[in-house]
């Protein structure tokens, strides 16, 4: 449309324009060999004035150049739209026109415009902040080329400088506006990102807009900001996808996006703008924390709790440097949510330290455990990580100084589980004197002697997966006890799993005994101790009532009851962990094996010797007629003898007393006669 006007004008307007047009056309033809383009020169009409570098105007008393570089405009992305494509208000206006209205890029770039309006830049403009950048401040005006064109003002390589126009030291913006970071451009250019982009020319290296976005630039405090704590991980992982793999293997990557508050955010370690490809000590220097927390008198205003941090304790902890490992965990990595731009960086902390940020797997186990469940219900008795592991001075479980070192574990658990303490008080199960019993048990005795591989509380109950016995997932649930004990007593577990007491072998649906039913849970003693040997019949007898009772009617049982430990006890014949039905050929009491089993005590025992009835009773005429009739035969003999003998004696008694009286009388008579004789003789003498 503009071109048609240009063509028509010579007939109506002045000769000079026609001449100028022709001249330029001829010039183009002759020198540039591009006559067609010369004729289509966009905005040629406007450039008639604005193509002259001397074209100026005066605004607010200042001389302003109105020059437009026609060549650049011709190569710009907007060339095809001509001048009035943007300066729409000048359409059809006569020369010289008034100052055109501000170009509204949003007419075409609606999305970008809308984003910019919402951004801090856009809001500043709305506030009337004259320093706030508009489209042209970054993109330029007549020479806008595609971003991918190296000449673009916002080409990746140039972005830092575009932003740096304002965001560098000494600018009006940096001096007059509250920007949290300082030396932004300088820091960026020294960072790994800046180095890649600016020095190595790696155009895909992130520039300002990569993190801050191009148009929707928001302060980091805004939840919608690409650099807000909640979003920063998503922003960084646009390039650094699967960065959690590079980090500690235990870190729960998805938490970075889902629950950013529990994890240190990327900038907590990798300071914004200063990012290097080496591990940073911290985003927030520990020294910054220690400025206040080194004070022993530091108290929390709310409740007077000491906020003193013993740095040397931290420095000797698991989270300090260890030879050969990079484990230098900074304050802010646990105490996340700090904000380095605050005078008190910790004032932004809203959550307690969450160890699961790094100790992810353990955290899941803990959360499912009874301790974790109680903690989830905000039970004040529920132990959290620090109750067992401590805080700043935390040590690995293999460190003899650690609270979780094997020899310290029972005492650690005892703080709550000792009789009368808070865990023992709320416990309703059958186990009592847990700590005392454990201490005197074989496990406890060995631990006291310093054997660290013996079983402690955590060996059976696990450290973090602690669940009540009734929970099917519990390590001490009846179904899991053999496996739990088998962690150490592997050989015995194998035997047990092949015994009649194993559900797999017996196929019983009713409860079968597991390790602790015979050995107890906490008071486990050596099986060669007298107390165990003498009590095992009662133990087996809890289920095998009748067979244990009849055992006590035979020799082995009777002498056992008198405390004789060498006599055969249940397991001496039946086997302990490898117990099988007598009918099973592999049983210790099978036809093939029974003589050898008896022979353990009775050297030379034969199959016939093994015919001794070890569980016989003389009260069962059907099962043991021999014994029944022998017993009653003997009893009859006894009764008859005693009755006859007793009657004989009783009948005798009256006569015996009579004889006694007669004897006494005769004696008295004899004495009297003797005395009489004596008195007769004495006068003669």
């Amino acid at each position: 449309m503009a071109e048609t006007k240009v063509v028509r004008r010579p007939s109506r307007a002045g000769l000079s324009i026609v001449v100028a047009t022709l001249l330029s056309a001829v010039f183009s033809l002759l020198l540039l060999e591009r006559p067609a383009r010369a004729a289509d020169q966009p905005g040629a009409e406007c450039l008639a004035c604005h193509g002259d570098k001397t074209t100026t105007t005066t605004r607010a008393g200042k001389t302003v150049s109105l020059y437009v570089d026609g060549k650049k405009f011709a190569t710009s992305v907007h060339a095809s739209f001509g001048c009035t494509g943007c300066h729409a208000d000048l359409e059809g206006k006569d020369f010289p026109h008034e100052k055109p209205a501000r170009v509204n890029c949003g007419t075409c770039h609606a999305t970008e415009q809308e984003q910019h309006n919402r951004s801090l830049h856009g809001k500043a403009i709305a506030r009337g902040d004259t320093l706030a950048p508009r489209c042209v401040n970054c993109h330029g005006n007549h020479d806008i080329v595609p971003v991918k064109d190296a000449r673009s003002a916002v080409a990746p390589l140039k972005v830092p400088f575009v932003c740096g126009q304002c965001h560098r030291e000494g600018t009006t913006v940096s001096r007059n506006r509250p920007i949290p970071q300082d030396n932004i451009l300088e820091n960026y250019s020294e960072s790994i990102h800046g180095e890649a982009l600016l020095k190595k020319g790696l155009s895909v290296a992130p520039n300002c807009a990569t993190c801050h976005t191009a148009h929707l630039i928001l302060p980091h405090t805004d939840p919608a900001s690409s650099i807000n704590r909640r979003n920063i991980a998503a922003t960084c992982t646009k390039c650094h996808s699967q960065i959690e793999v590079v980090h500690r293997k235990t870190i729960r990557g998805e938490l970075w996006e889902k629950q950013a508050n529990v994890l240190p955010a990327c900038p907590d370690c990798h300071q914004p703008h200063k990012i290097r490809n080496v591990f940073y000590a911290q985003g927030m220097a520990d020294a910054d924390c220690m400025r206040c927390h080194a004070d022993e008198k530091l108290r929390r205003a709310r409740d007077g709790q000491s906020m003193y941090v013993n740095l040397s304790e931290v420095n000797h902890s698991r989270h300090s440097e260890e030879p050969g490992r990079l484990r230098n965990v900074a304050c802010s990595q646990c105490h996340s949510e700090v904000n380095a731009s605050h005078v008190r960086p910790c004032e932004t902390i809203t959550h307690k330290v969450d160890c699961t940020a790094c100790h992810d797997e353990i955290g899941k186990l803990y959360a499912a455990s009874i301790h974790g469940q109680l903690n989830g219900k905000n039970d004040p008795n529920a132990p959290t990580c620090k109750e067992c592991h401590g805080t700043h001075g935390i040590l690995g479980k293999l460190d003899p100084q650690s609270r979780t070192f094997a020899t310290h574990v029972p005492e650690l658990c005892a703080r709550c589980h000792r009789e009368g303490q808070k865990a023992a008080v709320r416990y309703t199960g059958l186990q009592h004197e847990i700590i005392g019993n454990y201490t005197e048990s074989i496990h406890g005795t060995l631990l006291k002697n310093g054997l660290t591989v013996t079983a402690t509380c955590t060996s059976c109950h696990t450290a973090h997966q602690i669940l009540p016995r009734t929970d099917p997932a519990s390590s001490v649930n009846a179904n899991n006890v053999p496996t739990t004990c088998g962690k150490c007593h592997h050989g015995i577990e194998q035997q047990f799993e092949n015994s009649i007491h194993s559900k797999r072998v017996s196929g019983f649906s009713k409860p079968l005994p597991v390790c602790n039913d015979c050995h107890t849970a906490h008071a486990i003693h050596r099986t060669d101790e007298n107390s165990f040997r003498l009590n095992v019949m009662a133990t087996c007898g809890r289920c095998h009532e009748q067979i244990a009772k009849t055992y006590f009617e035979t020799y082995h049982g009777k002498v056992s009851r008198l405390g004789y430990t060498k006599a055969a006890k249940c397991y001496d014949c039946h086997g302990a962990h490898d117990i099988l039905a007598v009918a099973d050929p592999r049983s210790h009491l099978s036809r093939a094996n029974v003589a050898a089993t008896c022979g353990k005590c009775h050297a030379g025992a034969t199959r016939r010797f093994a015919g001794y009835l070890t569980h016989a009773t003389h009260h069962d005429p059907r099962k043991y007629p021999f014994l029944f009739y022998t017993f009653w035969g003997m009893t009859t003999l006894l009764l008859v003898t005693f009755v006859v003998g007793g009657l004989h004696t009783l009948l005798w008694l009256p006569r015996a007393f009579q004889m006694r009286r007669e004897l006494r009388a005769a004696e008295a008579e004899a004495v009297a006669a003797l005395e009489a004789a004596a008195s007769k003789e004495s006068p003669d003498a």
Binding site: F552, T554, Y555, K558, V559, R561, L562, G563, Y564, K566, H602, A603, G604, A605, T606, R608, F609, A610, G611, Y612, L613, A616, H618, Y624, F626, L627, T630, F631, M634, T635, L637, L638, T641, F642, G645, G646, H648, T649, L651, W652, L653, P654, R655, A656, F657, M659, R660, L663
Partner: protein, 281 residues
């Protein structure tokens, strides 16, 4: 006994060997009873206590078997003594067994038993007993029976591996019942009926120590065994059988020993009664 006074001469009823054997038998019998009954009545507190006092069950077992060896020794020595007696005084075993003074019951014993029962119920006079009364003969053979029954089963239980080469293993269970019930019979009978018959009869109360001293007053012989007395007088052999009585110190010692044996015996009887009637399970 005042000095210068001539010691009383008493009738000798038991030889020195017989008296020694009786004492050995008392000691071994009481020992066997105590150690054995702890096992039989192992469910009583008494048994546990006694077993403990004896140094544990294992010790009690050794003591029991040692005492059994003594008992066997007594038995064998007595048999040897009988053999010597036969050689010394009798022409043949038949003569010894059926002659006068034999322990073997005969028709006269049956008659005396009947007469005695009549006397008990006031239907006659006390029979004129000979050297051995029928109840003494019963006691004597009860020991034979006991040794045979308890001894054989005891040996079986002592050497079960050896004996089960000949008998089934379950016979050990039978042997256990026989051994322990027969032992119960023996102890029960000895500590009640035998104690009464021979030692505690009212006319002899508190005890007759003839079996320990071997001697009895001639008056007593005349009264208790009139037939023997008369036979001795008739044969003129009475004086041969008279010897000086033991000094008082000996009889006092013997009485002390006898009291202990009696006390232990009665305690055992009380324990048996308690275990059988009140604590039986």
């Amino acid at each position: 006994m005042p000095k210068g006074e001539v010691a009383e001469r008493q009738f000798v009823r038991f030889s020195r060997l017989q008296r020694i054997l009786h004492i050995c038998m008392i000691v071994s019998f009481i020992t066997l009873a105590l150690t054995g009954l702890t096992l039989k009545f192992s469910y009583t507190k008494w048994a546990a206590l006694l077993s403990h006092l004896l140094g544990g069950f294992e010790n009690a077992g050794y003591i029991h078997r040692s005492a059994a060896v003594v008992m066997f020794g007594v038995f064998i020595t007595h048999l040897a003594d009988l053999y010597k007696l036969k050689k010394r005084e009798h022409s043949s075993w038949f003569a010894m067994i059926f002659g006068p003074g034999s322990m073997v019951p005969d028709r006269r014993d049956l008659a005396e038993l009947v007469a005695t029962l009549k006397w008990f119920v006031g239907q006659g006079k006390r029979p004129a007993y000979g050297r051995w009364t029928y109840w003494e003969k019963f006691d004597y053979f009860a020991v034979f029976w006991g040794i045979a029954v308890i001894g054989s089963t005891g040996l079986t239980l002592w050497f079960p591996v050896f004996f089960t080469r000949f008998i089934p293993g379950s016979f050990l269970n039978v042997a256990t019942i026989i051994h322990s019930d027969e032992a119960l019979l023996a102890t029960g009978f000895i500590f009640t009926v035998h104690f009464f018959n021979t030692h505690l009869r009212p006319e002899k109360f508190p005890m007759d120590i003839t079996v320990f001293t071997g001697r009895m007053a001639l008056e007593e012989l005349k009264r208790d065994k009139p037939r023997e007395y008369e036979a001795l007088v008739a044969s003129g052999k009475l004086e041969e059988k008279m010897e000086e009585a033991y000094p008082a110190i000996v009889t006092r010692t013997i009485r002390a020993f006898a009291w202990v044996a009696l006390a232990v015996g009665f305690s055992i009887v009380l324990w048996i009664v308690y275990a059988v009637l009140f604590a039986y399970r």
